[in-house]
């Protein structure tokens, strides 16, 4: 069975602007590279051979399509709603990030670039980029905030094992936003042979559109999988939101299904009433950061405010412009989830279903628990389980060790 989406065409937005959001606010030195990338992407998008090559890579290397798993024991804690996980954690390299990376790496190859650079927070995007560089025989440099190299040390080692150079970023707040700054600086100086493989649906045009197109396979698969399993569309689709790639990846196929509620969960850190959170849409204002107009945490003068989250991958004060737009038109709802709620959901999934999620994805799980309690047992909720928690074992171990004094966790 298939269910036709209504022709409202929210899925057709191609940038550079999504409503008032998006655009290209970048130094002139990088405009030629962005134009080159836009042109190459447009050609690739229209080329069946490109799509065939990417699909084949996904089939034989990524492990797509990813499965969906129903989690009834977990769902008992979520008002009895039916909860389905889209298992991006089972992808090669452990998260949804590989979808974007393989797409962009193929584009980079097409335009003759021999060096890939990337920013990374949790290290998942860095690992995926290092993986693609190894696969395609390219040089790879990954910028990672010094704070993140400490809390995601395992992923630093993974990148190095894959042959990449990891450069700890010691400027600014020493987290993901500063890693982006450093990657842009590298790109300005090395644009001739280098592709900046940006890891989320943020940045200047064409990144938000191109990255979305590479991750939307998640929702396209999941939409049909849910229909095949349940006979209908889900009531709600849920994802965590850092820059927004896994969220747009699973939302996009449902944008023109008006009965499907879309919920993004931002990192609430210690709570949005404290200054320690990363809830960009909930607490931010429109402005320009990292090359596009979107919504971000900033002070009265437009200085970016430091974000905080227990999850390195969500610890970003901005968000992609398509999400800012979806929030502004009311098509998607964005809600903060605290560190504490995310960690409880993390442990719950481990212990009820035998699946260790990434702490990023645990924010979506926590959101799904709340949502299930509101929607009740007739509801079906599709959750993007964006990554696996291997990288987080140390953080989670320490977290529960402290909370429970070593017992019970």
């Amino acid at each position: 069975m298939t269910i036709e989406a209504t022709p409202t065409h929210l899925r057709d937005e191609q940038g550079p602007f999504f409503g008032e959001f998006g655009g290209r606010f970048m130094p002139e030195s990088l405009i030629a590279a962005l134009d080159e990338l836009s042109a190459a992407y447009d050609v690739a998008k229209a080329d069946p051979e490109f799509h065939r090559e990417l699909a084949e890579l996904h089939r034989t290397y990524t492990g797509r399509p990813s499965i969906i798993t129903e989690v009834p024991r977990f769902a008992e804690h979520a008002g009895g709603a039916r909860i389905l996980l889209k298992r991006e954690d089972l992808n090669h390299t452990g998260s949804h990030k590989i979808c974007n990376v393989l797409g962009q790496a193929l584009i980079a190859k097409r335009i003759g670039k021999t060096r890939l650079i990337a920013e990374t927070g949790a290290g998942q995007h860095g690992v995926a980029t290092a993986t693609a560089a190894a696969l395609f025989g390219m040089e790879c440099v990954v910028y990672m905030g010094e704070v993140d190299t400490e809390r995601q040390a395992l992923n630093v080692a993974r990148m190095r094992l894959l042959g990449a150079t990891v450069i700890p970023v010691t400027t600014g707040t020493r987290t993901l936003k500063d890693a982006l700054n450093e990657a842009f600086r590298d790109w300005v100086a090395n644009v001739e042979n280098t592709h900046y493989l940006l890891g989320t649906v943020a940045g200047p045009h064409p990144f938000p559109v191109m990255v979305r197109d590479f991750v939307k396979v998640i929702g396209e698969e999941a939409r049909q999988q849910v229909i095949d399993l349940t006979g209908s569309l889900p009531d709600a689709v849920v994802a965590c939101v850092g820059g927004g790639s896994n969220a747009i990846g699973i939302f996009h196929a449902f944008l023109d299904d008006p009965d499907v509620a879309l919920h993004g969960f931002e990192a609430g850190g210690d709570g949005v009433d404290t200054l320690r959170h990363a809830a960009s849409i909930t607490m931010g204002r429109p402005g320009v950061l990292h090359g596009s107009r979107s919504i971000m945490l900033q002070d009265e003068d437009g200085q970016t405010i430091d974000s905080h989250s227990i999850s390195a991958g969500l610890d970003y004060p901005g968000v992609g412009p398509e999400h800012a737009w979806l929030a502004s038109i009311g098509r998607a709802t964005y809600t903060p989830v605290t560190d504490a709620a995310a960690m409880q959901a993390f442990r719950l999934l481990c212990q009820t279903e035998g699946i260790i999620p990434a702490i990023e994805s645990a924010h979506a799980l926590a959101g799904a628990i709340e949502l299930g309690r509101t929607l009740g047992e007739k509801a079906t909720i599709l959750v993007n389980l964006s990554g696996r928690g291997d990288k987080d074992v140390e953080t989670a171990g320490a977290y529960f060790g402290v909370l429970d004094a070593g017992a019970g966790a």
């Binding site: 130094p27 002139e28 030629a32 700054n181 300005v188 402005g287 320009v288 990292h290 003068d301 200085q303």
Partner: protein
């Protein structure tokens, strides 16, 4: 030129005057609030007293993607010291009360957006500022600023890069007022031992699309480099070297360096 109908640009006039009396203009950059607001004002005044023709005051910003380590460190120190946007107008006003050189603000775009582009332009005019250099705002994304700078008569300096197409160079030339900021090399701000041939080639390309005022910046740090640049361009821009001198040796140090750099403008 789009801006031809408004009052003559004070920056263009200062550059023109320097070309009459010397080989061309020396343009000096310093960030506002480094090491303190008072010292940054004194340092800027000292630049002009020692031969700098046009001042470029940098507005510290949390995410300066075009800046190298020296300027990043100084602007971060200014932010840590409590820099507020209104301090930029205060600095312009106080500098203009003491010296005659035109003062441009160099700013990333978000602070202007948050302040309000129109309000920012009005307050800059009131403070006696000449205009803006916008490192992350290009002409094609700058409709609001084009309109506000036309309304207020402020100068607007756009950047030209070695990688820019001729079409984009023309856009920068036609829409800049004051000068076109010619990016000497692909990279962020910071002193370089050698300036390649890229800057001269780029100025030549700018001339061929009609530029009458092209100034070269990024990597410039010695009187010899300045003399070389003024052989083909209208002005030379020095940033990181001055910031480092200020950091290391205070206002007297930056004054001495300015005087030495100014020797590179002799004909």
């Amino acid at each position: 030129m789009t801006g031809a109908s408004v009052a003559p640009s004070p920056v263009a006039s200062a550059i023109e005057a320097s070309r009459q009396s010397r080989a061309g203009a020396l343009i000096g950059y310093l960030p506002v609030g480094f090491p303190t607001l008072d010292d940054s004002v004194d340092a800027a005044v000292a630049l002009v007293e020692n031969g700098v023709d046009v001042l470029e005051l940098g507005i510290p910003y949390s995410d300066p993607v075009m800046d190298g380590p020296v300027i990043q460190k100084a602007t971060q120190a200014s932010l840590d010291g409590g820099f507020r946007l209104r301090d930029a107008f205060t600095a312009v006003e106080r500098i203009r009360a003491r010296v005659d050189a035109p003062v441009l603000l160099m700013t990333y775009w978000n602070p202007v957006v948050q302040y309000g582009v129109g309000r920012f332009a009005d307050d800059l005019v009131s403070a006696g500022g000449a205009g803006l250099i916008t490192p992350d705002l290009t002409v094609d994304s700058g409709a609001v600023w084009l309109a506000e700078s036309d309304r207020t008569g402020l100068d607007r300096v756009f950047l030209a890069a070695p990688t820019s197409t001729d079409e984009r160079l023309r856009l920068a030339v036609e829409n800049s007022r004051g000068f076109v900021y010619t990016v000497s090399t692909m990279g962020t701000t910071g002193a370089r031992a050698e300036l390649g041939a890229a800057a001269e080639t780029l100025v030549g390309r700018l001339r061929s699309v009609g530029s009458v005022s092209a100034c070269v910046g990024i990597g410039v740090s010695t009187p010899e480099q300045i003399a070389e640049i003024l052989g083909y361009a209208d002005g030379a821009i020095v940033g990181s070297a001055l910031v480092r001198a200020l950091a290391d040796d205070g206002v007297p140090g930056v004054a001495r360096l300015a005087a030495r750099l100014a020797s590179g403008t002799a004909r």
